[in-house]
């Protein structure tokens, strides 16, 4: 069968992004007749990973005219590298696997559980997220520990301060005074079971988290930035509510030590979530699912009148009981974030200190630029400047050649101001790491990604006529959001009905995999 015309299916999944691919995995043993298509000629959709050349092609192909497109305002910058052999050079295109979704996954995430119970983790490799750093320029924040360099006079150069990774770190800290330590320890004890103590925080629920820290625990201001860094939110410090911060910090702290000492989250190797998407698709193919890339659906507007018939872009007519696809275009302009991918000519080794003798070598470091640590020209809004997150991936991820690293930047700020802020953050970061020769930027990609607010109204998916199911488009978050899995489960349940069984729980297909002799 080399044509799809007149074929009949139980489920047609449109797009090979992470959600669709997890759904494909969930349906992989269902005996449903599944067709999984993607209009792109690559796997992963908004979670794809690209070689250099593919990334440049992707940047060019992004549809600037559509207000419903997930990505826009793309630009690739290649500094003029002198051909002189003594200066660092880009490696060949295929040495890179740049992730559109360089998310980290907390050890306690339901995603990890699902990858294990569905047995596909055997086809994946995970690496540790090591240290978390806070960038600071101010003279007032010197009370923190382990500055790896300090250049106080130059406005663009600051210092990077390591966030303590747990209570032991706090105990052993040489710089914090006793009072601060006590306040922090008290807070950390509280957060270990904050759900049980609503009386402590309910009245601060919608208040800024920093207010809560001061009023309830007397946590000194110097510790606010490191604690906010653990939330991985890009909102301005005064916009992060207690309700937002507590579960995120708890998620961080509770995950530490699950897979080994000194770290609590992991990243997939080879290009972020793209790898998980591919593994999910392969599992579905192994179960008999049919895969066709470069094949989209014709007639984008037909969400509301789905009658089981679909027309593909090359004219094939197919029928299906269920069709699962991305969010429906709403026509409402969505907010957007700025994102960037920067290839750097250094392994930035000082940012990847060992996690301990028994622990794996960390392959990712998180740098947080607190609200206001990077000035934005012409900032006239009442709220503070949003914070910037940069995840640095080492060459151990397979995303770049040895001796280089990839900086994935993210700020919840649209337009030129956001892109400017990201650029400055990357420059400041590079200027703050004491390493010789000084790291230089070899290549960078900037783009904006549209999102709908995480707390947006409406159910996780909507039904458009019998059989048409859609995923919600979500905001980029530096950590995998377990609600994605809930959304997948909901759709899976709808398709499976009574016979659903356990979600993503499978036996090994390969009998003797652990046979080691």
């Amino acid at each position: 069968m080399d044509t799809l015309d007149n074929s009949e299916w139980d489920v047609v999944i449109v797009g090979t992004g992470l959600r669709q691919s997890l759904l494909a995995l969930a349906l992989s043993r269902s005996d449903k007749k599944i067709l999984h298509i993607d209009e792109n000629d690559y796997y992963g959709g908004a979670e794809a990973a690209f070689s250099l050349q593919e990334a440049e092609e992707w940047a060019k192909s992004v549809d600037e005219s559509s207000t419903a497109a997930a990505f826009f305002n793309t630009s690739v910058t290649k500094p003029d590298l002198s051909p002189d052999s003594s200066t660092p050079q880009l490696s060949p295109s295929r040495k890179y696997s740049l992730a559109l979704s360089p998310q980290l996954v907390y050890a306690r995430s339901a995603l990890i559980q699902s990858l294990i119970s569905s047995k596909v983790y055997r086809q994946l490799e995970f690496l540790a997220v090591g240290s978390w750093w806070v960038y600071t320029t101010s003279s007032g924040n010197q009370a923190l520990r382990e500055p790896i360099s300090i250049h106080q006079t130059d406005s663009i150069r600051g210092s990077l301060l390591k966030v303590p990774s747990g209570r032991e770190d706090v105990f052993q800290d040489q710089v914090l005074d006793f009072k601060s330590k006590r306040a922090l320890m008290k807070f950390l004890r509280f957060i270990s079971d904050y759900e049980e103590q609503p009386q402590e925080w309910k009245k601060y629920e919608y208040e800024p988290f920093t207010t809560f820290l001061i009023e309830r625990f007397k946590v000194p201001e110097v510790l606010h930035a490191p604690l906010l860094a653990l939330t991985l939110t890009s909102a301005s410090s005064d916009q992060v509510s207690t309700m937002t911060a507590l579960p995120r910090i708890a998620r961080h702290l509770r995950s530490i030590g699950v897979f080994g000492s000194g770290f609590g989250s992991v990243i997939p190797r080879w290009g972020g979530m793209a790898e998980i998407a591919q593994v999910g698709c392969r599992a579905c193919a192994v179960g008999g699912g049919v895969y066709v890339l470069g094949k989209g659906i014709a007639g984008e507007g037909k969400y509301s009148e789905f009658d089981g018939k679909l027309r593909l872009k090359d004219g094939e007519n197919i029928t299906t009981k269920w069709c699962v696809r991305d969010h429906a275009p709403s026509g409402i302009p969505a907010a957007s974030d700025n994102r960037s991918v920067t290839i750097v000519s250094s392994d930035l080794a000082p940012l990847f200190p060992s996690l301990g003798e028994e622990a794996p070598i960390p392959a990712c470091a998180i740098i947080n630029f607190p609200s206001g640590s990077i000035p934005v020209e012409g900032w006239d809004q009442e709220r503070a400047v949003p914070s910037v997150q940069i995840a640095i991936h080492s060459s151990d991820t397979g995303e770049c050649p040895p001796g280089q690293s990839i900086l994935y930047g993210y700020v919840a700020l649209s337009g030129a101001q956001g892109s400017q802020l990201l650029k400055k953050a990357v420059e400041s970061l590079l200027a703050s790491v004491d390493i010789t020769p000084a790291p230089t930027i070899l290549w960078s990609l900037q783009y904006e990604q549209r999102c709908i607010p995480v707390n947006g109204s409406g159910s996780l998916h909507m039904t458009w006529g019998e059989g048409m199911l859609t995923f919600k488009q979500s905001q980029f978050d530096l950590a995998f959001d377990d609600r994605i899995l809930d959304e997948v489960k909901e759709i899976w349940q709808k398709i499976m009905g009574e016979d659903a069984g356990d979600f993503l729980v499978f036996e090994d297909r390969e009998p003797d995999i652990d046979d080691d002799d």
Binding site: M1, D2, Y43, A49, R94, S97, A107, R108, I112, Q113, L115, I116, S117, Y121, Q123, E125, F126, L127, A128, S192, D193, E195, A250, R254, G257, V258, F259, G260, V266, W270, E275, Q278, V279, C281, R282, A283, A285, V286, G287, G288, V290, Y291, V292, L293, K295, P360, I361, P362, A363, D396, P402, R509, E510, D512, I513, D515, D516, D517
Partner: protein, 244 residues
């Protein structure tokens, strides 16, 4: 000279081997013959296993093949990069009764050279050798068999000989590209074990590592040191410790 010296167990290494080739050339059948010494006449297209394993004993070491099937993703040219990732060997299969399948095989070889690790060992395998008459197989090495192989429309005089790809044609292509080359029959078992043994022998010792690894690239130790073991202590008890 009986077994006097304490015999050290031979070093054992895992090797990821990927299958490539047009649909219905017998990729899975070859693997079934190699792994289970079994053959099914009218096998359905591949469903069911992410990969199969089989050991290959060499005089000085044991190679444990992790054989990855395409799972049908080749049909619409939709194989994912993860399929090629870290593959140390590839079996590119064509059907000796179908010249277009050799063209397809050449396409896959090019794709491997583009996508796979530089040191990958590639074997080109002409399957369904049982469909060539004995005489045909012999004469295929002669010049006069070649014309018949080039065009599918050519009238076949031997009657039972369905061969349309001359051994010589495929062999010279394989030599040009430095590929191992075999003609096999998954049905009779002819040459099947030999292919895998030849691949095992061709894999450079330096690219090997212990069992159940991925291997295939440089800096192996560091890669292992970076890897997080999800199936370790922490996550084997799903509900433990979550305070939610």
């Amino acid at each position: 000279m009986a077994d006097s010296a304490p015999t050290q167990p031979k070093p054992s290494s895992s090797v990821k081997l990927v299958l490539l080739g047009e649909a219905a050339v017998g990729k899975s059948s070859l693997v079934m013959r190699f792994v289970n010494n079994d053959f099914q006449e009218n096998k359905e297209p591949t469903i069911g296993a992410a990969f199969l394993t089989q050991k290959c004993n060499l005089p000085t070491r044991t190679i444990k093949f992790e054989i990855w099937d395409t799972a049908g993703q080749e049909r619409f040219a939709s194989l994912a990069p993860m399929y090629y990732r870290n593959a140390q060997a590839a079996l590119v299969v064509y059907d000796i009764t179908k010249p277009s399948s050799l063209t397809k095989a050449q396409h896959w070889v090019a794709e491997l050279q583009r996508q796979a690790s530089p040191g990958i060992v590639i074997a080109l395998v002409g399957n369904k050798a049982d469909l060539a008459s004995a005489g045909g197989a012999d004469s295929s090495d002669d010049a006069d068999a070649a014309p018949a192989a080039e065009g599918e429309t050519n009238e076949e005089e031997e009657g039972t000989d369905a061969r349309r790809v001359a051994t010589r044609t495929a062999k010279s292509y394989a030599d040009e590209e430095s590929l191992l080359f075999f003609e096999t029959s998954a049905k009779t078992g002819q040459n099947v074990a030999e292919v895998f043994t030849a691949i095992a022998n061709a894999i450079p010792e330096t690219s090997l590592k212990g069992p159940r690894g991925v291997g295939g690239s440089t800096n192996l130790n560091r890669q292992e040191d970076a890897r997080v073991n999800l199936a370790g202590t922490g996550m084997s008890m799903p509900d433990k410790g979550c305070a939610c």
